[in-house]
């Protein structure tokens, strides 16, 4: 038994091309990674992280559990194709072993076992015939759903699906051909040589009944050729198309488990992230630039695609609110915002090294105390928040060091979001130095943008960074301030940077519930909408920002609350332009009830 027939050639060529390219790509990406990242992988290998990664590969790359959580039909479509095909390969392998014993069988021998079993009179077991037919049926149902998704994506909870590039369409068409041609090839084989399970055997019986044996014999070789050709084309196209994700998601999961994430600067390891995107398009619907403004070429799926094929334009990279709604939903768990930031960093202006020399010696802070208050640029534009905080501090009897009440330096996040990472570092160093110099133990800020930067970027040993919502909650809990509870109805808007960014959802809610009744808007917590004024976007116009804010305000007004509360000065500014109810910062509503 040679396990070779001429029709196997396209499949063999495709498989060789695919595995060779995968090996070359992965090894170049891995070798180009920073040394620290490579060491992290080596150190992680013998730990339990590896086991956790293996389990995640099974549950995500094969079963697609995260997609099931988004929509069960969509999840079934992905799982039936991925897990079904995997089982076809695995059970097919077991089948050859069970039929032929432990001996070497070349790859095409496993894949086309039905052909060789029929033509070379090899044994076959009924139980495997039935099992393989069942698995083929499962995969075919996935293919049928994929077809259906082309015409009616709403069935799977998706309003919009991805617009594909030509290379993807070639691979997609080949993939759609693989399983129907396999069904036909195995059925004709069953019709001519007998065997086959309920599906291929059944279909073969029908063919035997209605088609002449001569026609079947004439079709026999050509259908196996078509099956092999579709497999070959798909495999050869895979490394260049979106189907690269099938294999690339696996190393990505391992990298993530070993603590290797995307960083401030582009790295060759980012290729594992861009190529792991399956362009499923789940990121399109949550994007408000899409749903409100109809902009449909900047979403993460298109950003990653453009970056992967080296055709990324600045206006695509810059046109993103970085609200994190897509990142929260990404079934592959790609660091979408970080990747966009490091693309912006690559495209940035050449910074002037001396641009912030004027920070030297600047110290406009005032007051003495263990607790510092950093208003941030945006709070300086919402003076009511500032005065409310002054009243709260006074009521609690807190000695406060005011970092920037008379002007100061920005926290650095806006600059960083624009990609000027190195320049932003100078601001961060300045502010961190200022905090250390004044010996504070806690820094309170009323701006979530500053909060996130302080927590993630600043090196502040011994200084606790808290948001004013957390601070006020502690004051109320410990009884240092007393607030009067009324029957007023409040609704709360989760700022992106505070909620999805810093994971602070419950503290502001607890504060509001101690003041009155809290009613939740339709999109809340992890799903909350962006106000549109995000500093991350430097492309959309004022009118477009306002339209996004109006969408959010409509949801907030629909709750019937008499006051809209938020905990971010930028959100407050944006929402108050659009909402009919008064919009107040959390500190204002607390200060009013002291």
């Amino acid at each position: 038994m040679s396990f070779f027939a001429p029709f196997c050639l396209p499949f063999m060529a495709g498989a060789v091309v695919m595995f060779a390219l995968l090996l070359v790509k992965w090894s170049t990406w891995f070798c180009g990674m920073p040394r620290a990242d490579k060491m992290a992988v080596l150190r992680g290998l013998p730990t339990r992280k590896t086991l956790a990664a293996v389990w995640e590969v099974v549950s995500e790359s094969l079963l697609h559990r995260r997609i099931f959580r988004i929509n069960p039909v969509l999840g079934y479509m992905h799982a039936s194709l991925a897990f079904g095909w995997f089982l076809l390969i695995a059970v097919g392998w077991v089948e050859t072993v069970a039929c032929l014993g432990l001996r070497y069988v070349p790859l095409q021998g496993h894949v086309f076992y039905k052909y060789f079993a029929a033509t070379e009179s090899l044994p076959h077991l009924a139980v495997f015939d039935q099992a393989m037919d069942f698995l083929l049926l499962v995969v075919l149902s996935g293919v049928a759903l994929a077809w259906g998704k082309r015409f009616c994506s709403r069935m799977m909870g998706m309003r919009r699906t991805t617009k594909h590039v030509p290379g993807d369409r070639v691979a997609l068409s080949a993939l759609w051909f693989v399983f129907p041609t396999r069904l036909v090839a195995e059925s004709i084989t069953a019709a001519l040589y007998g065997g086959g399970g309920f599906l291929t055997g059944g279909l073969g019986g029908v063919m035997e009944e209605y088609l002449s044996p001569l026609l079947l014999a004439r079709l026999f070789e050509p259908v196996w050729w078509v099956y092999s050709l579709s497999l070959g084309v798909f495999f050869a196209a895979l490394p260049f198309s979106r189907y690269m994700h099938i294999f690339t998601e696996v190393p990505l999961i391992f990298l993530r488990r070993y603590g290797v994430r995307a960083g401030d600067k582009e790295s060759s390891g980012d290729r594992f992230r861009t190529d792991a995107c399956s362009r499923c398009g789940i990121c399109i619907d949550p994007c408000q630039l899409q749903s409100v403004l109809g902009i449909d070429d900047v979403q993460s799926v298109y950003f990653l695609r453009d970056r992967r094929y080296k055709m990324l334009e600045m206006k695509v990279a810059n046109n993103c609110l970085m609200c994190g709604r897509c990142e929260a939903k990404c079934p592959v768990g790609i660091d979408l915002n970080t990747l966009r930031r490091n693309s912006r960093d690559t495209m940035r202006n050449i910074p002037d090294e001396r641009r912030y020399d004027y920070f030297a010696g600047v110290d406009r802070s005032s007051g003495e105390g263990r607790v510092g208050y950093f208003a941030g640029c945006m709070t300086m534009l919402t003076p009511r928040t500032l005065t409310a905080m002054e009243r709260i501090f006074a009521a609690a009897g807190e000695q406060v060091w005011w970092a920037d009440r008379s002007g100061g330096v920005c926290c650095g996040r806006p600059l960083k979001l624009s990609g000027e990472t190195d320049s932003a570092r100078r601001m961060m160093d300045y502010n961190a130095g200022l905090f250390r110099k004044h010996g504070i133990a806690t820094i309170v800020t009323s701006c979530p943008i500053c909060l996130r930067t302080f927590r993630e970027e600043y090196d502040l040993p011994g200084i606790e960074v808290i948001h004013h919502s957390e601070y006020i909650m502690r004051l109320i809990r410990s009884g240092r301030i007393k607030v009067g509870r009324g029957e007023e109805k409040f609704t709360y808007h989760d700022p992106c940077e505070l909620g999805r960014g810093a994971g602070i959802y419950d503290e502001p809610r607890e504060v509001i519930e101690s003041l009155g009744v809290l009613v939740e808007p339709h999109s809340t917590r992890e799903n909350s909408l962006c106000c549109g004024s995000s500093l991350a976007n430097t492309v959309i116009s004022d009118a477009q920002q306002l339209r996004i804010a109006e969408g959010l305000a409509a949801e907030l007004d629909a709750t019937g609350a008499s006051t809209v509360v938020t905990a971010c000065p930028l959100c407050k500014k944006a929402v108050s332009c659009a909402a009919s109810a008064p919009v107040k910062d959390l500190s204002e509503v607390v200060a009013e009830r002291l």
């Binding site: 202006n349 008379s406 330096v409 920005c410 650095g412």
Partner: protein
């Protein structure tokens, strides 16, 4: 509170000869950001500016000069900007001021 520099003062007399200035860059900037032409020169951007509070940086002055073809030093001055975005929130004409800063820096980086 320290005295706030509102961006107003007595300017030194100067003459700009638009016929002699090369307006190509300026035209490119206005082409990409046409809304900049709707600026009424109110100076709100400069009044709230975080960098302007600490230095002589005056956004209104710089972009006005750039539009008239006076590019000298504009890149260095724009580099003082911290991109904090207060100017954009106060602009009565809704100009994307942060976009303007980044655009001017991109166009005049080699000046």
């Amino acid at each position: 509170m320290a005295a706030i520099n509102w961006g107003y003062g007595i300017s030194k007399p100067r003459a700009i000869d638009i016929d002699r200035n090369n307006l190509r860059r300026s035209d490119e900037i206005l082409h990409e950001m046409p809304e900049l032409q709707s600026c009424i020169g109110c100076g709100s951007c400069t009044a709230v500016c975080t960098a302007g509070n600490l230095t002589e940086f005056n956004f209104r002055k710089v972009h006005t000069l750039v539009r008239r073809g006076e590019y000298e030093g504009a890149y260095e001055l724009m580099n003082r900007c911290m991109l904090c975005g207060k100017c954009r929130l106060v602009c009565p004409r809704g100009i994307n001021t942060r976009g303007v800063v980044m655009l001017i820096k991109r166009k005049l980086g080699d000046f």
